[in-house]
Amino acid sequence: MGVLRVLCGRGDVKVEWDLEKEEAVKEAERIFQENAAKGYASFRVDDKIDSAERIEKFDPHAKQIIQIPRIVGG
């Protein structure tokens, strides 16, 4: 069971998938790619935030993926 959390103005939007359900995985991947195309950065955070790693491709085996909007100099 994996979860994709997309940070946006509404807090975070959760998308969960089960590896056994192909459709759910595909849908999560579609959302991941849609956000990636918008410039969202993706991080695989399996346990603690210290173990976070930047990813470019959707990994269905990830326990948790966090996608965040692009950052700019303020």
Binding site: L7, A52, I66, I71
Partner: protein
């Protein structure tokens, strides 16, 4: 040695020498504690949302969004969440520079400490989308943990 010499000199001159300034001297010179309200949260804030009330955050998101963002931050930070609430900040050690850490506060630029001293500039990065304050902090944290150089290259240095 110096103390004995000064005591001898003072006795000879018949004056009183203060090795330490009398109590209240510094207060007399520099004034007492400021009564001007500060625009950042203090230690008595009880949660991230209470801290936001103190900040009068101009980019406030809906309460439900803030609630979810706070929940996510709490899950990700673990024990550090309590530190954030009680101290008002969390420190992230640099992976690139020695004796350097970054101090993250809600809705504030990133403070940089080198050898224990705060640098006169801060790193300002913002999300291109409006996100709750807790999410913004999490974003900075994720970037600092995974690609510190990117933050350094992207951020504007502000005073």
């Amino acid at each position: 040695m110096l103390r004995a010499f000064l005591a001898w000199l003072a006795r000879g001159l018949g004056v009183r020498v203060y090795l330490r300034p009398p109590q209240g001297t510094w207060q007399l010179l520099w004034g007492g504690p400021s009564e001007v309200p500060r625009d950042f949260p203090d230690e008595w804030a009880v949660g991230v949302r209470d801290m936001l009330d103190t900040l009068a955050d101009p980019y406030r998101c809906e309460d439900e969004a803030n609630l979810r963002a706070e929940q996510l931050l709490r899950e990700q930070l673990g024990e550090d969440y309590q530190k954030l609430v009680t101290q008002g900040y969390i420190d992230v050690p640099s992976r690139v520079f020695r004796n350097t850490f970054y101090r993250l506060r809600l809705r504030r630029p990133i403070e940089v400490f080198k050898n224990g001293r705060r640098q006169p500039w801060r790193l300002c990065v913002v999300s291109i989308e409006r996100v709750p304050a807790a999410d913004e902090l999490l974003m900075k944290l994720l970037w600092l943990k995974t690609n510190e150089e990117y933050v350094l290259a992207t951020a504007n240095r502000v005073r």
